[in-house]
Symmetry: C2
Subunit: 359 residues, 2 copies
Amino acid sequence: MGARRPTLESLATELGVSRQTVWNVLNRPSVVAEPTRERVAAAVDAAGYVPSRAGRQLRTQRSHAIGIRLMPTFDGINGHILDTFVHELAEHAHRSDYRLALFAAANEADEIATYARMRAANEIDGVVLTSTTIDDERIAWLLENDVPFVSFGRPWRRDVDASTAPHDWVDVDGAAGTEAVTRRLLADGHSRIGYLSWPAQPDVGGDRLAGWQRAMRDASDERDLSTLIAECSNDVTDARRAARQLLDRGVTAVVCASDTLALGARAALGARSADARRVPIVGFDDTPVARALGISSVAQPIVRAARTSVSLLVSRLAEERPPEHVLLSPSPVFRDSEIATPSLFESVGTIQEKEITNP
Amino acid sequence: MGARRPTLESLATELGVSRQTVWNVLNRPSVVAEPTRERVAAAVDAAGYVPSRAGRQLRTQRSHAIGIRLMPTFDGINGHILDTFVHELAEHAHRSDYRLALFAAANEADEIATYARMRAANEIDGVVLTSTTIDDERIAWLLENDVPFVSFGRPWRRDVDASTAPHDWVDVDGAAGTEAVTRRLLADGHSRIGYLSWPAQPDVGGDRLAGWQRAMRDASDERDLSTLIAECSNDVTDARRAARQLLDRGVTAVVCASDTLALGARAALGARSADARRVPIVGFDDTPVARALGISSVAQPIVRAARTSVSLLVSRLAEERPPEHVLLSPSPVFRDSEIATPSLFESVGTIQEKEITNP
DNA sequence: CTGAAAGCGCTTACAG
DNA sequence: CTGAAAGCGCTTACAG
């Protein structure tokens, strides 16, 4: 390696042409005479010249970087899907010559503050938002400050439909997923199919719940489905408690809002009779845990979601256009595995952890 | 928000001072007279001025960015630990005013090519390497090309000790972890403690194996430990097969190179008698899966590893100094949970997946 | 088709 | 203590 990085200037001097000509060879080759073009191109290759990002950025006022917050690893089971999303995002962004500027934030206010700083420093051209919540403050802020962005997750609002949102979003049709698995269970002869839900709200949880409701309403005249629903937080122990309620009410299958909840439901089966243990459980996200334990689930098309997010954001950075909304379909994955038995899960929630000091 | 970003120039003009004075207020305030300083500082705040990253970068030839490859999510169980590492890295890098430039790569050659391009474009100042392998080509390349870096993971060499490495590294003392859990099992009265290993090599797998060996050699005169070791790939199904061999040889406890293997070992217990099912299994990494299933494990101090990696790299970028090597101690986590029973795992490895098409 | 020039916004060496 | 100037490496508008 030489003493210094090559620049347009140094290459031009070396070749006895102007800076502009070197630039033309790289960016508008058709405009340069053949012999010059070949001579310059060869020198560029030999020198391993790559345009300085800073120089370009200063001139064009574009950083070619996309801001993305790495969400806290709150769960590790369902959280895995976001890690996969970020991985795919990095891959596809690179192909479009964009970089991912990764950061961590303690909460939404901190996240917004980071966007503000990064924008002020001209450090990012746009943002990919994940894990949208009801009346998401981040969306409001980004819109208000004209920051180009795409959200992976619909802009959940209590009274406004996501289809009217003034910004791009990509999401997975959770309702279609839970509806498909519920219909499948109905077709298999189940009629009392329980649903293990996060607290009902008009967000991703409400969406998944709605799919189960659609299938159930379709299948029976029974209007009151409420006894078949149990609520819990996204926690294995709490899910086990809620699943027990459902089993007590005689459900013969359980559809869950997440794989974490499905794991809790498995645990609840443990204490039951052999018959009860055959109750099929379906999770959501098709995480490594579901795969390893043979739990049925609903797989999100995460690679397509990432690819679509990048392409929407990149096109928005290139040109004005109306907002686009993309709803992708998930794929149910049924696994025929035997059902959990008591002892494995018996102690979940009362696990005693002891740390022993290292020698 | 005004029409344009404020700059040193625009602020200076507005305030009737020179660009230099504004800069001094921000970077060497002691040199500016009190009244000027206050007036300027107030204007800077009001305008929300943040120095342009590109301008600074062009002038200083420093990007203040750290390159990091997001590893493929090959496993999702033990892979989780790297996601956590990257998350913490982002957090600590930000505190030192560094950005994480994230990228994906298909393999090591691709990873190296990406470093080369990013360096040529002056896009990154340094690199954090993860998942080091034997005679790691990436390390050789980075050293040869004078790219500042720190590796999370020792530079494994067949014939050279990591302590002589000419570069910074941070690692977790895997051997100390497996040794501690093995000693604990010995203290609990176990003598035939099996070890479920990745193929033995002088790398992270060999390191973890060595800890178990130390404890076992110490505890008995029996020189030949080979019948207590079974090898397998990092895969639940293969681990189950290997664990069965160990059980057939009468082991009363199993220490594993990873939580993924521990999950396989759990599965192997399933088909055994009630007695056999009490065989304690210990994994490695204390992943969400281990926590959810109540499997004992060894927790890596991942937050400290990330913080140390950032501080080593940042200090290296600031000044010449001899290489530093940091070996952190992991913490065994014992969980008293009952042991796996047959049916849950019976079908692992022969799981039938069926996708049903969405409506 | 080729070249000379301006300017993006910083930091730094230097003059007053 | 304050200010005028140079230059990092690009891209782009313009002159020949």
